[in-house]
Amino acid sequence: MVELEGTKLSEKEIETLPGVIYYKPFTRYKFTAGYAVSVFLEGLKRGKIVGSICRRCGRVYVPPRSYCEYCLKPTDEFIELPDRGEISTAVISYISAKRGRLEKPEFVGVIRLETPGYREGSYEFAGLFHKICGITEEDVKTGKAIGMKVKARWRPPEERAGSILDIECFEPIGGGED
C-alpha cells in the first residue's frame, strides 16, 4: 500500500468539518398490499403460491394483479400454481449493502413457475423473483443454472407470517449444494 502524503482525517474529524452536514433520514411506512397481493400473501401463509390470469391475453401474474397491465382490464380469476418451476435467469451478487465483499455471495433470480393446464405458448409464464439456494457459482457462470428445475423451500408453518419470506428460497429439485 502506498503511503500518501498529507494529514489523514478520522471519520469523526470529517463529520465535524464545517460545510458537511450529516443527516439521518427517518421515515416509516405501512404499505397497503391491496386486494390481489393480499390474496397472494395469505396464500404463502398456507404454503400456496397464488397468481391471477388474464383470459384475454393469457398472462399469468405472480404475485397476482387485480388488473392486466397489457390489456388494461381486470384479471379474470386467481389460480393456484405449483411451488416449483425452472430458473429463467440467475445472478451472483458479491457486494454487501456497505460495498464490502461478501464472504458468501448471494444468488437471486427469476423462477418460471409451472402453470399446469395451460398449453405452452398459450400463456405468458408466471415469473417470480426470489433467492436461489443450493446452486454454485459455476452453475451460473456456465449457464447450467438456466432451466434448472427448482422448488420452493418453505419456512415451517408456525413461522410463516404472510410474507414473501415465507419461502426461504428456491432450491434445485433433488437437492443441491447449500
Partner: protein
C-alpha cells in the same frame, strides 16, 4: 403558420377520497381511476388510443425511490410513452396540453395519486422537504409544517383588514359545502363561532382552517379537437382555454409573506391564453386552493378575482348560491388534500360543474402546499355539448 390544436378534458375518474383505503394498493386505486376516466372519455382501448401518459407524484409520498417506474402499468402506459412530473397534477395537465399543442399527440392521460394513510411519519417526510443546512435544524418538529402556512396567514391578516373571523367564515363555508358532496370525508356542520372558539394548531389557524390528508387517485383524459371530433366527445369536452404554472423560490426568507406570486403568474399566463381581461366578469365560478382557509382568500386575490376577496366573502358572493361560487365542492377543507393529486381534484370538480351547466367558464387554481411556493392555474370552458 398552422393553428395549434385546442385541448379539452374529455373524461375524469377517481378512486378513494377516504382518510384510509386499506382495501386497495395505490396501483389498484390508479387503475380504478383510469378505468372510470376512459369509460367517460369513450376510450375503449387506452393501450392503442392514448398517445402518451403522464403521472404526477413524489417518491417520498409513495415510499418508493424512482417511483416513475411504477407509473405506467395501472393506467395503460406499459411500453408506451410515459413520463412523470414531480409536482401537482395540474402541472401535469399543463405538460399534456403542451404535448397536444405540438400536433404530434391526440390523446394524453394525466394521473396523480396519494396514499397518505401508508405514511407513518408524515412529519419526517415534510422535514426532508426543508433545506437541510439552515432550515431543518431550526424548524419546529411538527407532523405537518402548518407553521409555514401560518407565516403567510399572519402576514395576510396584517396586510389586509382581515382577521381570524374571515378565515373561520371560509372554513365554515367550505366544510358546510362539503355536506352535499359524497366524496367530502371532512365535511362538517360547523359554525363560524365554533371555529373561532376552537384551539389554534398554529396561530391563527385552528384544525377547521387546515385541510387533512386524504387517499385518492385521479385521472384526466385530455384530447385535441381532432380527437374530440373523432371520439364524438363534444358533449363531455371541457376546453382548457389557458393554463400556467411556476415556482417562486425554495428559500423561505425570500418569500414575500401574505402573497403567492406563483398563483398570480400562473393565472396571468392562463388568462393571456384564454383572452380573459376581466376575470370576475368573464368567469362563472372557481375551484381554488384552500388547503388552509386563508389560502382561498389569497388565491382569489392573486388570481385577480376582484380587488378584495374578503369583501366577496362578506357579501356572500363566494357561497354556492352567490354571484361567484368558490369551492362549492367543499374544497380541500371538506374533501381533504391528496398531496400532488390536489390539483386534479380541483380540476375534477370544475369539470363536473361545467358539464352540469349549459354553458360556462371556470377557473382552477392549485398550490402544492407547504413548504412549496409552486402553483398552477387553468381556465376551463364548456359550450353545452356542441362546437363553439
Amino acid at each position: 403558420m398552422t393553428t395549434k390544436p385546442r385541448v379539452a378534458v374529455i373524461g375524469m375518474g377517481y378512486s378513494g377520497f377516504q382518510p384510509t383505503t386499506p382495501h386497495a394498493s395505490f396501483r389498484e386505486m390508479m387503475f380504478e381511476a383510469a378505468l372510470k376516466a376512459y369509460s367517460i372519455a369513450g376510450i375503449d382501448d387506452p393501450r392503442s388510443q392514448v398517445d402518451a401518459f403522464i403521472s404526477c407524484q413524489e417518491d417520498y409520498w409513495d415510499g418508493i425511490a424512482i417511483a416513475d417506474e411504477f407509473a405506467p402499468e395501472p393506467i395503460g402506459g406499459v411500453l408506451r410513452p410515459t413520463f412523470t412530473v414531480s409536482g401537482d397534477g395540474l402541472q401535469g395537465v399543463a405538460q399534456g396540453v403542451m404535448l397536444l399543442k405540438t400536433g404530434y399527440f391526440d390523446v394524453i392521460t394525466v394521473e396523480s395519486h396519494a396514499k397518505p394513510s401508508d405514511i407513518v411519519d408524515l412529519g419526517k417526510i415534510y422535514e426532508m422537504a426543508l433545506d437541510p443546512i439552515y432550515v431543518r435544524p431550526t424548524a419546529p418538529k411538527t407532523a405537518v409544517p402548518h407553521y409555514i402556512a401560518a407565516l403567510d396567514a399572519v402576514a395576510y391578516m396584517d396586510s389586509r383588514e382581515s382577521g381570524e373571523e374571515d378565515f373561520a367564515e371560509v372554513a365554515a363555508k367550505n366544510r358546510n359545502n362539503g355536506l352535499t358532496n359524497p366524496l367530502a370525508s371532512y365535511a362538517a356542520n360547523v359554525s363560524i363561532d365554533e371555529i373561532l372558539e376552537s384551539e389554534h394548531v398554529a396561530y391563527p389557524l385552528t384544525m377547521y382552517d387546515i385541510s387533512q390528508p386524504v387517499d385518492a387517485a385521479l385521472v384526466a383524459v385530455l384530447a385535441s379537437d381532432t380527437a374530440v371530433d373523432r371520439l364524438g366527445a363534444w358533449d363531455r369536452a371541457v376546453w382548457i382555454d389557458g393554463i400556467g404554472y411556476n415556482t417562486e423560490t425554495y428559500i423561505p426568507e425570500r418569500h414575500v409573506y401574505g402573497t403567492m406570486p406563483s398563483i398570480r403568474r400562473s393565472a396571468l399566463t392562463a388568462y393571456g391564453e384564454a383572452g380573459i381581461t376581466n376575470p370576475l366578469s368573464q368567469l362563472d365560478f372557481a375551484e381554488v386552493d384552500d388547503r388552509y382557509s386563508f389560502m382561498e382568500l389569497l388565491s382569489l386575490e392573486e388570481a385577480l378575482l376582484g380587488e378584495d376577496s374578503i369583501e366577496l366573502l362578506r357579501r356572500g358572493d363566494t357561497y354556492p348560491e352567490g354571484k361567484f361560487p368558490v369551492n362549492a365542492s367543499g374544497g380541500s377543507l371538506a374533501t381533504g388534500a391528496p398531496f400532488e393529486a390536489t390539483g386534479l381534484m380541483r380540476l375534477y370538480y370544475a369539470y363536473m360543474k361545467l358539464l352540469s351547466m349549459q354553458e360556462g367558464r371556470g377557473l382552477v387554481v392549485s398550490w402544492r402546499g407547504p413548504p412549496t411556493y409552486t402553483s398552477a392555474a387553468a381556465v376551463l370552458s364548456y359550450y353545452g355539448g356542441g362546437e363553439e
